[in-house]
C-alpha cells in the first residue's frame, strides 16, 4: 500500500482495530484539551507531571494483584497511586518548609522510582502476561482493543459529564476567585475536582501517549488555544480540536511505522502547534514584534520631522534648509536611520530636498506644528494641573506627543484656553 491508500484505509473505519484506535484517540484528544484548559488557567501545570509519573506503581500493583492486563484494574491502580501523589504533594508542602515545586519533584521521583521497582518485580515474576507493560511508558495506541475502548470511553464520559456540570463553577473560580469564595464556591472543592479530572485524563492517556508525555497532551492544546481566543468556552473548544487533531496525526504516523511509539509523535505535533501559535497568532510574538517596529519607526519619523521644524525655527530663514547631518546631531540618532526616515517623509510629501538641504512642505509644516503643539500643550498641562516644575515636564511630553489624538489635543487646548506660551516660554503654534 502506498501512503494515500494507507491514509484512506486508516480513516475509512473498515478495520475494526484501526477504528478502535481512531475513536479512542479522538476522545482522548478532546478530553485532554478541555481538561487542559482548566489546568493551564488555574496555573497547576506542574502537578500533571507528578500525577502522570506516579501512575506507574499503581499500574504495576494493579497488574500484580489481578495477574492479567485488564485495563480496568490497571487504570484503577494507576488512579489510586496518582491520588496518593496529590495527597503527598499537599502534605509535604504543608508539613515542612519544602516549597510546592520541590514537593512536586520529590513526589514524582519517589513514586516513579517505586514504580520502576514494581515493574522490575513484575518482570522478575515470570508472569507471561507482563510483556507490554513497558508500552505504558510511551504509549502504544495500536494495541488498543475493544475492551480498552469501553474503559476509555467510560473515563472520557466522566470528563464530558463533569465539565458542563461544573462549567460555571470553574469559570467563576478561575477568573474571579475572590468573588467565587464570596458566593460560597469552595476553592478546595474546585481544586479537588481539577486534580480529579487530571487523574482521569492521565489514566485515559496512558495507553496512547504514555505516562511520561501525557503532561504535554494536557498542557499544549490549551496553551496554544489561549493564543487565539480570550473566551473561556472557545478556548476549551479550540483546545479540544487541537488535541484531537494532533493525536490523530501521531497515531497515524505510528500506524505507518509500527516500530514508532505513538506518544512522542503526538507530543511533537502538539509542541509544533504551540510554537507556531506563539509565533504567528494575532497575539503572538511575531505580530507583536512587527507592531513594535512599526511604532518605533513612526515615532522616529515624527521626531525627525519635528527636529527639522525646530531647526528651521532656530535659523529663521538664514539658511535654505537643514542637512541630514544637522538633524542627526541635534537629536542623537544614527544618520542611517535619519536618512531613511527623511526618505519616507519625502514620499509622503512632508519634506522636499533641495540640493543637500531638506525643507518642509506646506503639509510638513502643518504636521510638524501639530506634533510640537501637542508637546507644548502637554508640558503646560502637566505644569498647570499636576504642578510639576517646568524642567520635569519635557520627557513625559516627548513620549505622549506620539499618542495624543486630535480629540484629546482639542480638549487640552480648550481646558487651558488656547495658551500662547509653553512652560519654557516657547510659542505654541496653532497654524492658520
Amino acid at each position: 500500500m502506498n501512503f494515500w491508500e494507507q491514509l484512506i484505509y486508516f480513516f475509512s473505519f473498515t478495520d475494526a482495530n484501526v477504528s478502535n484506535v481512531l475513536i479512542g484517540t479522538l476522545l482522548l484528544g478532546i478530553a485532554s484539551g478541555m481538561v487542559g484548559t482548566l489546568v493551564v488557567l488555574s496555573k497547576k501545570t506542574l502537578i500533571i507531571d507528578a500525577i502522570s509519573h506516579s501512575m506507574l506503581p499503581g499500574i504495576c500493583i494493579g497488574f500484580m494483584l489481578s495477574g492479567v492486563k485488564n485495563p480496568v484494574y490497571l487504570m484503577l491502580g494507576g488512579m489510586s497511586s496518582a491520588t496518593v501523589a496529590v495527597y503527598l504533594i499537599a502534605e509535604i508542602s504543608q508539613r515542612s518548609k519544602i516549597k510546592v515545586d520541590a514537593a512536586i519533584a520529590i513526589t514524582l521521583s519517589i513514586l516513579f522510582s517505586f514504580g520502576v521497582i514494581m515493574l522490575n518485580v513484575v518482570q522478575n515474576s515470570g508472569n507471561p502476561n507482563q510483556s507490554g507493560l513497558n508500552d505504558f511508558l510511551f504509549g502504544k495506541a495500536a494495541s488498543m482493543l475493544r475492551k480498552d475502548l469501553y474503559m476509555f470511553g467510560g473515563l472520557c464520559l466522566i470528563i464530558f459529564i463533569c465539565l458542563p456540570v461544573f462549567f460555571r463553577h470553574f469559570k467563576i473560580s478561575l477568573f474571579d476567585p475572590i468573588f467565587a469564595q464570596s458566593i460560597g464556591i469552595k476553592k478546595y472543592f474546585i481544586q479537588s475536582i481539577i486534580s480529579f479530572l487530571i487523574i482521569v485524563t492521565a489514566a485515559a492517556g496512558v495507553q496512547t501517549v504514555g505516562i511520561i508525555l501525557i503532561s504535554a497532551m494536557i498542557i499544549a492544546p490549551a496553551s496554544a488555544a489561549l493564543f487565539w481566543t480570550n473566551n473561556f468556552r472557545l478556548t476549551m473548544i479550540y483546545a479540544g480540536i487541537v488535541g484531537a487533531g494532533c493525536s490523530i496525526v501521531g497515531v497515524f504516523i505510528s500506524f505507518l511505522l509500527p516500530e514508532m511509539p505513538t506518544g512522542p509523535w503526538i507530543v511533537v505535533m502538539l509542541a509544533s502547534v504551540s510554537i507556531l501559535s506563539v509565533l504567528f497568532s494575532p497575539s503572538g510574538l511575531l505580530v507583536k514584534q512587527i507592531q513594535i517596529r512599526k511604532n518605533k519607526k513612526s515615532i522616529l519619523r515624527e521626531n525627525v520631522l519635528k527636529t527639522v521644524y525646530k531647526l528651521k525655527e532656530k535659523i529663521k530663514g538664514k539658511k535654505k534648509g537643514i542637512s541630514t547631518e544637522e538633524v542627526s546631531n541635534y537629536r542623537p540618532t544614527a544618520i542611517r536611520k535619519v536618512r531613511s526616515a527623511l526618505k519616507h517623509l519625502k514620499r509622503k510629501g512632508l519634506v522636499i530636498k533641495g540640493g543637500d538641504y531638506w525643507t518642509l512642505t506646506e503639509n510638513g509644516v502643518q504636521e510638524a506644528e501639530r506634533i510640537v503643539r501637542v508637546h507644548r500643550l502637554w508640558e503646560l498641562y502637566l505644569q498647570k494641573y499636576m504642578h510639576l516644575p517646568s524642567n520635569y515636564v519635557h520627557n513625559s511630553a516627548e513620549s505622549i506627543e506620539h499618542i495624543v489624538t486630535p480629540e484629546i489635543e482639542q480638549a487640552l487646548a480648550e481646558v487651558m484656553g488656547k495658551p500662547e506660551l509653553d512652560p519654557h516660554n516657547q510659542k505654541i503654534p496653532y497654524g492658520k
Binding site: L46, I92, S109, S113, L213, E259, M260, P264, V268
Partner: protein
C-alpha cells in the same frame, strides 16, 4: 571490585546531583532541573549516532548546548511569548524528550542504545564497560569521566559559593550590588545539564531528578545555613546510595530506582515524624 565501582559511580552521581540540586531547590527551580534532565536527550542521541560512544566530548557539547537552548527558549516563550512559565517548561521538555525517543526508535535501532537504558540507566553495567588504566588500576571509562566532572563541578561550586548563595537567597540584593542573577542561573543550569549527561549512562534521564531534589529536600528540613545544607545533602545521598545498592541486590531490582526509593522513604519518614512529634508537644 565489582561492587566498589558501582557504588563509587553511584556516589559520584549522588554528590554531583545533590550539590546542584541544593541550589535548584533553593532557587525554586526543581522542576526546571527535571525538565533539563529530559531535554538533553536529543543531544545525547545525536552525538551518539555520530561518534557511536555514550559519553564523548561531542555528547557533552551537544547536550550542554541543547540544555541551555531549551532554558533560553523557555524563557523567551514565557517572558515574551506570553506562555505561562510552567506551561513553557512542560511543553519544551516533553518536545525535546520526544524527539530524542523518536530518534532512538528510528535511527539507533541496531545501535547499543535503548529506551530503557535512557530512562533508568544501566549502572550495573558500569564495571563491564571498557576501562582506562590509571596508575595500574583499571577504572571504568564512565566512572573516570564522571570523577573528572565531579571534581570540576565541586571546584566551580566551591569558588562560586558566594554567587550561588546570594542569588538563591536574595536575588534583589544580588542585582543591586552588581551580581548577575542571570549568569549564575545559567551557570547552575548548564552544570545541571552537564551533570545529567555524565550521569545519564548510569542513572538515566528520569532517575537523575530524584538525585537532584530528594537530598536537597532532606537538607532543607534540617538546616538553614548553606554550607551545612550542601554537606547534609551530599552525605545523605551517599549513604542512601550505599544502602540502596545492597537493598537492590536483595530484591533483585533496578539499582538506581532502589537508591531513590530509599532516599524517598527516609525523607517522607522525616517529614511525617517531625510534624507529629511537634504536635504531641503542643
Amino acid at each position: 571490585m565489582f561492587d566498589f565501582w558501582i557504588i563509587f559511580t553511584a556516589c559520584l552521581v549522588a554528590i554531583n546531583s545533590s550539590v546542584l540540586g541544593s541550589f535548584l531547590v533553593l532557587k525554586k527551580m526543581s522542576m526546571l532541573g527535571d525538565a533539563l534532565s529530559h531535554s538533553v536527550l536529543p543531544g545525547i542521541v545525536i552525538a551518539f549516532l555520530i561518534t557511536n560512544e555514550h559519553t564523548s566530548i561531542l555528547t557533552t557539547l551537544f547536550s550542554a548546548i541543547i540544555g541551555l537552548a531549551a532554558v533560553f527558549t523557555m524563557n523567551v516563550l514565557s517572558k515574551k511569548g506570553g506562555f505561562q512559565k510552567d506551561a513553557a517548561i512542560g511543553i519544551m521538555y516533553t518536545f525535546l524528550f520526544s524527539i530524542g525517543i523518536i530518534l532512538i526508535s528510528s535511527l539507533a535501532k541496531n545501535a547499543d542504545i535503548d529506551i530503557e537504558c535512557v530512562l533508568f540507566g544501566d549502572i550495573g553495567n558500569v564495571p563491564f564497560t571498557k576501562g582506562l588504566y590509571i596508575m595500574g588500576l583499571e577504572v571504568p571509562r564512565q566512572t573516570f569521566l564522571l570523577s573528572i566532572f565531579t571534581a570540576a563541578n565541586l571546584i566551580i561550586v566551591f569558588f562560586g559559593l558566594k554567587g550561588f548563595s546570594i542569588t538563591s537567597f536574595d536575588p534583589l540584593l544580588a542585582s543591586t550590588i552588581g551580581i548577575s542573577v542571570v549568569f549564575w542561573d545559567y551557570l547552575l543550569l548548564g552544570l545541571t545539564s552537564l551533570s545529567t549527561v555524565f550521569s545519564f549512562e548510569s542513572v538515566g534521564a528520569i532517575m537523575v531528578i530524584s538525585m537532584l531534589v530528594i537530598p536537597a529536600g532532606f537538607a532543607n528540613l534540617l538546616t538553614k545555613r548553606i554550607k551545612p545544607f550542601i554537606l547534609i545533602a551530599m552525605t545523605f545521598s551517599v549513604i542512601c546510595s550505599i544502602i540502596g545498592y545492597y537493598l537492590s541486590f536483595l530484591i533483585n531490582v533496578n539499582i538506581v530506582a532502589c537508591i531513590s526509593c530509599v532516599m524517598g522513604i527516609i525523607l517522607l519518614a522525616t517529614i511525617f515524624r517531625k510534624k507529629n512529634s511537634t504536635q504531641s508537644v503542643n
